[in-house]
């Protein structure tokens, strides 16, 4: 019995040791967590200047106002170059390809990510995330960010390359005051047989567009972004998806797959889209985002599909005559059910960056709640759920619709040729809208061109004779 007792005793001792060790480890971990501070982490980089580039819009302007806070704590200067959408992309392409190493981190549209990764222009952030000196232990992006948004915007082929700067989507804008107007309600019900309300499917959208088109009063049902411009592609995608179509039959953005852009569903969606021209103002084929926005602001249209990050402009009484009269909802549904799209600009770190660690520290800091809240209230589109839960943000009229749409967002193609694919589609759509080709002809043409571009990686599921 002596041996048995001593084993028991030994177990007891080792258990004590175990618990002690565990306790010590936990304490040490907590100590480290308490110990990690931005200031200390940034110490080796004090005095350095990091430069970035992005699109000159309110979120970036807000970031520009915030950056001094970062500099005060870390001693790292931040320069933010603000350019128009296309120039911001062009300058980065030129810089990355000529390896001038001008930018220490960049903010780019997520569709460009494939191009950057496949050409070895950006580095995954895993190396920084796994570095305890750099990683903020209180920051858990996998829990604190909308995962689907993070994956869509900043991940490629299973690796993270940054954090989302903005995560935006398109949804429905409409004049709520007109929907609530008793006279309109009466007349509409009499003609169409159902209540005038927020349009939930394409039939309703069409009926309301028809009902509200009154050219002699200078008022139209809707407006489409019909200019030969990337805005056209973005807008049509909403229709394409909700009619049950897509461009490629893949589940991930970086995969190549069969081309289905000329499927019967796609043709149907384009026909429907074309049909909206007659309910749109005269210049709708020269409208990009600006045109539709202006039309709504100047009380010329009843409904449209627009970006959620532009809603502040239509709610701003200084530039909009319909501020306070707007309603927002999800994109109307069709056969495809509830769908949306996600578009985002992502923080990325170029391979040629000379201050990768300092840049990572800034990125990480910018994703914290305080900074994100400030950006959100100044026109931003944060990827953090807790920001959307904030009461101030909740008061913004468009928050709910944006959240609903983001939940059902479909991924977009992000492989390196995708911007070229978009260009082909923009031309095809413009040809169809201008009446030069039928919907089927233009989408067939697009399918053929896309296939020529991508080769066997993207066979045509609906071959063209």
């Amino acid at each position: 019995m002596r041996g048995h007792e001593s084993v028991h005793a030994r177990h007891k001792v080792s258990r004590i040791w175990l618990s002690l060790t565990l306790a010590l480890l936990i304490l040490a971990g907590a100590q480290q967590a308490l110990c990690w501070s931005l200031k200390e982490a940034a110490e080796p980089y004090r005095g350095v200047t990091i430069r970035t580039i992005g699109e000159a819009l309110p979120p970036l302007e807000a970031l520009d106002k915030l950056k001094d806070k970062f500099t005060k704590e870390t001693g790292i200067e931040v320069i933010i170059e603000q350019y128009a959408h296309e120039e911001a992309v062009d300058k980065v392409m030129l810089d990355l390809n000529s390896r001038t190493g001008r930018y220490d981190f960049i903010i780019q549209p997520h569709r460009e990510l494939g191009r950057f990764v496949e050409n070895n222009h950006v580095v995954p952030i895993t190396q920084f995330v796994e570095n305890p000196k750099l990683k903020d232990p209180n920051f858990h992006p996998e829990k604190e960010l909308y995962t689907n948004l993070w994956k869509e915007i900043s991940w490629y082929k299973g690796k993270p390359y940054g954090y989302p700067f903005t995560a935006i989507t398109m949804f429905l804008w409409y004049r709520q005051d007109m929907v609530n107007d008793p006279k309109e309600k009466e007349g509409f019900k009499a003609k169409y047989g159902y209540e005038l309300k927020e349009p939930e499917d394409w039939q309703q959208y069409h009926d309301m567009a028809e009902w509200f088109t009154r050219p002699d009063k200078g008022f139209f049902g809707t407006a489409i972004q019909g200019k030969r411009h990337v805005a056209l592609w973005y807008e049509w995608l909403n229709f394409l998806y909700s009619f049950g179509g897509d461009v490629f039959e893949t589940s991930k953005g970086y995969e190549y797959g069969p081309i289905i852009v000329n499927s019967p569903e796609a043709v149907e969606s384009l026909d429907y889209y074309k049909g909206l021209i007659k309910y749109s103002p005269s210049d709708t084929l020269n409208y990009d985002w600006d045109g539709v926005m202006a039309a709504m602001q100047q009380a010329r249209i009843f409904e449209c599909i627009m970006w959620n990050d532009a809603t502040y402009a239509v709610e701003d009484p200084k530039q909009s005559t319909v501020a306070g009269k707007m309603g927002f909802g999800m994109v109307p549904q069709g056969k495809g059910g509830k769908v949306g799209q996600v578009e985002g600009w992502s923080y990325l770190i170029p391979t040629g960056s000379k201050q990768k660690e300092a840049a990572f520290l800034f990125m990480q800091w910018a994703l914290q709640y305080d900074q994100q809240l400030f950006q959100q209230l100044n026109g931003g589109a944060s990827p953090r759920p807790d920001v959307y839960a904030n009461p101030e943000v909740q008061k913004l009229a468009y928050t709910k619709a944006a959240l609903q749409t983001m939940e059902v967002a479909k991924p977009k193609a992000t492989f390196p040729e995708s911007p070229q694919v978009t260009d082909i589609l923009v031309l095809a759509l413009s040809d169809a809208l201008s009446g030069q080709k039928t919907s089927k002809e233009s989408l067939d043409w697009a399918a053929v061109e896309i296939h020529k571009l991508l080769g066997d990686r993207a066979p045509m599921k609906y071959p063209v004779k």
């Binding site: 411009h229 005269s282 201008s434």
Partner: protein, 302 residues
């Protein structure tokens, strides 16, 4: 008194001495990049597609241009139409205005400065300015044209497949006719008097004088202004790009816009180089023809 080798340099050697700086500048800035362009046209260089780092592909790009690119040829003919129409109208109006100014008004200075205004604003700003005027909903000009009945109630020139190219041509006419007027007026002002006096003595009326004296004497200047405008019109980019982006469809897809798309959207420099070389070739041929005409006439006029 400068002597010795320095004198020879500054005197006999003045030719090479004075030509060298400009030649060096041009060689470095233009000939260099041009040669680069030619070399790249035989490669697959692309900033977007991985592994297209400039591998030699022979004449593939050239073959593609000649056989497999209807979009290029569409934009080629669109550009030809644009240049021909714009140049003809600018010339006719410019010549008429120049003659008018030459024959009747003394106080040229202020009037000319005012007339020259259209060409002083950056072309990209001219584009935006005309968008403001022609836009379907808030465009000032469109509004009045509809009221007067020239436009239908729903006509919007920038959204109309048929109206958009003529609209671009008219904007170009607005922007550059002053320049043509100016050059032709300058030409008229420096014509010799003797042929005119001789014609009047011969009893010729104003129309005969115009066709038999003015026009032949003016031919070198006319060729010159058409040459300069022609080259620039072929390269037209800024205002069309910002107004329509080449649309609706491909109605205003000029060669420069097409080239820009290949180079800065697709980042396909290999193919872009061939397109650019093709455009350059066309302009070169047209200019050579004009230049020959100009030189021949110069010999004749003397």
């Amino acid at each position: 008194m400068i002597t010795g080798w320095r004198r020879i340099l500054l005197d006999k050697g003045v030719g090479p001495l004075f030509l060298t700086p400009s030649l060096i500048l041009l060689l470095a800035l233009l000939v260099g990049p041009f040669v680069y362009m030619v070399v790249v046209s035989f490669t697959d260089l692309s900033f977007a597609i991985p592994n297209h780092t400039g591998n030699f592909v022979g004449f593939d790009n050239y073959r593609k241009l000649m056989r497999d690119d209807p979009l290029f040829w569409d934009s080629f003919w669109t550009t030809i139409r644009f240049v021909t129409a714009a140049l003809s109208i600018e010339f006719l109006i410019g010549l008429s205005l120049a003659l008018l100014l030459f024959h009747s008004i003394e106080r040229h200075r202020i009037i000319l400065t005012l007339i020259l205004l259209p060409m002083m604003l950056a072309p990209v700003a001219v584009g935006l300015m005309w968008k403001l005027l022609l836009q379907g909903e808030f465009g000032m000009l469109t509004h009045y044209l509809r009221e007067v009945g020239i436009f239908g109630a729903q006509t919007a020139p920038l959204s109309s497949y048929t109206l958009v190219l003529p609209t671009m041509i008219l904007i170009d006419v607005w922007e550059w006719t002053p320049f043509v007027t100016l050059v032709l007026l300058a030409g008229l002002l420096s014509l010799p008097r003797e042929p005119y006096e001789a014609a009047i003595i011969d009893g010729a009326g104003p129309i005969r004088v115009f066709f038999d004296v003015t026009l032949p004497l003016l031919r070198p200047i006319i060729a010159l202004v058409l040459l300069l405008r022609g080259i620039d019109a072929f390269k037209e980019f800024d205002k069309v790009w910002i107004l329509t982006g080449g649309g609706p469809g491909s109605a205003t897809e000029l060669l420069s816009i097409y080239t820009w798309r290949i180079n800065f959207r697709n980042w396909d420099f290999g193919y872009g180089a061939v397109v650019a070389l093709m455009v350059y070739l066309v302009v070169l041929i047209l200019c050579s023809l004009f230049y020959k005409a100009m030189n021949l006439q110069q010999g004749g006029a003397k």
